[in-house]
Symmetry: C2
Subunit: 109 residues, 2 copies
């Protein structure tokens, strides 16, 4: 066995280990994404009920005081979970934008 | 009791019921958001490990084939959960953008 073959083999082993690790991590990411998608589906069921309620009782679609509370709470939860609070806030705004889109659709029906 | 008082009372009851329902739904939304934040924290732990692995083995930060697979899988999961597949895709892109930002930061360290 020449030195270069041994080196090539070592590289391959390292590479195989890295690929294995990558596959393991991606499996976890896929599981987490499935969980989040189902959580989001459940969340939109709730916000659609909220939307119907708001339309029925002529409540305004947006509620700045509630949103402020949600953002503060989520930033705190994120910090405790070592997630970037700025990202958690961006995430909530992303979801709220979609919810308002739904509410406007319901109100327009 | 005059008729107008009775009407006012009924309105108040309806309103109290709506407020109660709203509070119940918001409680569920807050629980779901807490679950999602913790799921996201766990997801970023995985992608940070992926980032370190990619930096160590000089793998490219983005992987279009993997992303295509993730999007297709998530759209299918969303459909089954009665969540808008277009929203699920938008959501994944939102997360992936953040992950790439993390990976670039790790590669630059």
């Amino acid at each position: 066995m020449t030195e270069s073959t041994a080196a090539a083999r070592t590289d391959q082993d390292v590479d195989a280990h890295a690929q294995e690790e990558l596959a393991r991590l991606r499996g976890s990411i896929d599981n987490i994404d499935a969980a989040i998608v189902h959580m989001l589906a459940e969340r939109f069921k709730c916000t659609q009920e909220v939307g119907r309620l708001k339309a029925e009782f002529k409540l305004p679609p947006a509620d700045p005081a509630r949103e402020k509370e949600q953002i503060e709470r989520l930033r705190l939860l994120a910090e405790n979970a070592r997630l970037d609070p700025a990202f958690a806030e961006k995430f909530l705004n992303f979801i709220i934008a979609e919810v308002i889109r739904h509410h406007e659709r319901i109100a327009g029906e």
